[in-house]
């Protein structure tokens, strides 16, 4: 099958009324979740996972992917109007977006962000479509050694890049792996770490853990704080939102650079939309002829990061679909969902489930068109939603967390687990640990263990098999570098700090 017939198949699936409805639901909810501070795309996907279980997996992934794309658009609204990012990938947009709003140019800021997001999102899907089958074909030759090396790379890079404290990132990751060992071991049949509790025989269920760590955890972090920010009022008529020709001239290269950079960063395991948006802003400031305008309402400072985060959210889907390694925290939760639907992401996905993959790709094109229309013509509606007080929203989100955790197995035990992990997630966030790394490890753990054991069984050189085969050797080396670089940096910082201290000490 060539690209054209694949895409035709995809659009036939995407244009069924139910899938269109799910894409629409996804973009609306995504924009809202992106816009509301205190709840981001990761918790959005975790919270909506339970709803997808009654559906066909294709419809489920269509809704979740549309939600992910929508949250990237929605985050901008809050950044520009309240100077509070709606989600982490829109943090940098606050800098120039809010300045523009103060100057009465909130409309063009939002409009340019929407157009940039649309261009980047659509081009991102084109790249995704072109790149994924190639990557999948390459990964088809992977044996257990390569698979384990890939898992190792995914785990080390994600961990190195989340949070400020690398040691705590790795601790979170190892804890996630340890949690994934709980329950029946498929190879030997042993029960591990169940503590004799019947409910633990199946191990930690991904869903209550994810809903707890992200949904409940974020709500608890928000519950602490009862204050509310003020929304700048502005005009959002169609005419007020459309950027001027001058805006376009200033932003066009920012959008192009943001798109390419964002997609590349998104594909890399571990570096998702947030890092992409920060890098795009920095690059734009560097290459700009007027760097002094950045921070004072430069429209490029909105266009570049908003393009980058959309391209990155498309890019992050590539390794998730083709290799089974998520490129961001949100795709890590999606990956968990895929596994629960009984879909094995990885190189075979494109051959075994073409309707799933191509339906998803076609839906992403449609979702971006929907999002452009929504974010140009219906901004006032989303601004009104922002006025719903958090004090009403917070209890509602908790109800949704509880019902969602219950709905999987219809067990109150799962709901209790959800609350426990909510408190754990809250504490982890406060103490700089990484719930994202823990979730990723929980998802990848079983496959990582199985591939390592299989690799050691066929190996005649023990663990050195990871260096005997070329692809595995490259991946393992990259993983070691991913660990070594932050370690070396921390060591150097410590040495410098110590020598500074000894110099300051009286002789």
């Amino acid at each position: 099958m060539d690209l054209f017939s694949n895409l035709t198949l995809g659009f036939t699936i995407a244009f069924t009324p139910f899938n269109l409805l799910m894409a629409f639901l996804g973009v609306i909810l995504g924009t809202l979740i992106g816009a509301l501070p205190g709840i981001g795309p990761v918790s959005g996907v975790a919270l909506l996972l339970p709803i997808t279980f009654g559906m066909h997996p294709t419809s489920g992934i269509i809704m979740l992917a549309a939600l992910y794309a929508g949250s990237m658009y929605g985050g901008t609204i809050t950044s520009v109007l309240i100077n509070t990012p709606g989600e982490s990938a829109s943090v940098v947009t606050c800098i120039d977006g809010y300045q523009m709003a103060l100057q009465g140019r909130a409309g063009p800021a939002l409009g340019m962000a929407a157009f940039g997001s649309f261009i980047a999102g659509t081009v991102g899907v084109v790249f995704l479509m072109g790149m994924s089958p190639l990557l999948a074909r390459w990964a088809l030759s992977f044996g257990p050694a390569e698979t384990f090396a890939l898992m190792l790379l995914g785990l080390t890079t994600v961990t190195g890049l989340t949070g400020d404290n690398a040691v705590k990132g790795y601790i979170s990751m190892v804890l996630g792996l340890m949690m994934s060992m709980v329950g029946f071991d498929i190879i030997s049949g042993d029960q591990r770490y169940t503590g004799g509790i019947t409910e633990m025989l199946d191990g930690f269920d991904f869903l209550p853990v994810a809903i707890g760590l992200f949904g409940m955890g974020e709500v608890l972090a928000g519950a602490e704080d009862a204050s509310r920010a003020e929304i700048l009022s502005a005009r959002y008529g169609l005419r007020d939102v459309l950027p001027t020709a001058a805006d376009w001239m200033r932003s066009r290269w920012a959008i192009v650079r943001g798109t390419v950079l964002g997609f590349v960063i998104g594909v890399l395991p571990g570096a998702g939309p947030t890092i992409a948006s920060f890098l795009a802003y920095t690059v734009e400031k560097k290459v700009s002829a007027r760097p002094e305008e950045f921070g004072r309402g430069a429209i490029e400072g909105v266009a570049a990061p908003e393009s980058a985060n959309n391209a990155a959210s498309a890019g992050a889907m590539v390794p998730m679909l083709t290799l089974g390694i998520p490129g961001s925290a949100t795709t890590a939760v999606m990956l968990g969902g895929l596994m629960m639907w009984g879909i094995r992401p990885g190189p075979l996905l494109f051959e075994k489930n073409p309707d799933f993959v191509w339906g998803l790709i076609a839906s992403l094109y449609i979702a971006n068109v929907m999002l452009l229309i929504l974010n140009i013509a219906f901004i006032p509606a989303f601004v009104r939603a922002l006025r719903i007080p958090y004090s009403i929203l917070m209890p509602l989100i908790i109800v949704f967390c509880i019902t969602g955790a219950y709905s999987l197995n219809n067990k109150v035990w799962d709901v209790g687990q959800m609350l426990v992990f909510g408190v754990v997630g809250y504490a982890m966030k406060k103490l700089d640990y990484s719930p994202a790394a823990m979730t990723l490890a929980l998802v990848l753990g079983p496959l990582a263990e199985r591939s390592l054991r299989q690799a050691l069984i066929i190996s005649d050189a023990g663990i050195l098999i990871l260096f005997q085969r070329p692809i595995a050797a490259v991946l393992t080396t990259l993983a070691l570098i991913a660990v070594a670089v932050p370690a070396a940096r921390a060591l150097r910082a410590a040495t410098i700090a110590r020598s500074a201290k000894s110099r300051r000490a009286p002789a």
């Binding site: 770490y193 019902t403 219809n410 054991r453 201290k501």
Partner: protein, 151 residues
């Protein structure tokens, strides 16, 4: 945060040692064909032990106590209330049932913690309980826990 890191690292160290000890004592490290069920957990525990030792050392070496991380005053009270009310709701689920429980839970939080008017509280609580029921029971066919009142 220095104290929190020290305590955290110490707890993690104990967990790591117990985890590896369990793997070594109760599960098979190596079988005739290759690694057994204890192999991977054994090493995971050791890696965690090394990492938490690293954290312990670096936290002890950090000069200043670091910023506080636990909320204080009103923030702490709100946090405890939300967790306690949620825990009570979950514990009472089999008695109250999901629908009535949801309504009561929302009522308590909206009225007592957030101080909304009775009208707003009732509207949101009844509306949300009904919407939640419609979404999960009517559409997704999830059997909700039924309370002693039969719904």
């Amino acid at each position: 945060m220095r104290t929190a890191d020290r305590i955290g690292a110490a707890i993690l160290l104990v967990v790591a040692v117990a985890y590896t000890a369990t793997a070594a004592g109760r599960y098979t490290y190596w079988t005739a064909t290759g690694p057994g069920s204890g192999f991977f957990p054994f090493w995971l525990g050791l890696v965690l032990a090394a990492l938490s030792a690293l954290l312990l050392v670096s936290a002890a070496r950090r000069p200043e106590p670091g910023p506080a991380w636990l909320p204080t005053g009103r923030g702490a009270v709100r946090l405890v209330v939300v967790v306690a009310v949620t825990a009570a709701f979950i514990a009472l689920l089999p008695v109250l049932g999901m629908v009535l429980g949801t309504g009561l839970f929302l009522g308590v939080l909206l009225r007592m913690l957030e101080g909304h008017s009775w009208r707003a509280t009732l509207g949101v609580a009844v509306g949300a309980a009904a919407a939640n029921w419609a979404l999960f029971v009517l559409w997704l066919k999830v059997p909700f826990p039924v309370g002693v009142l039969g719904f």
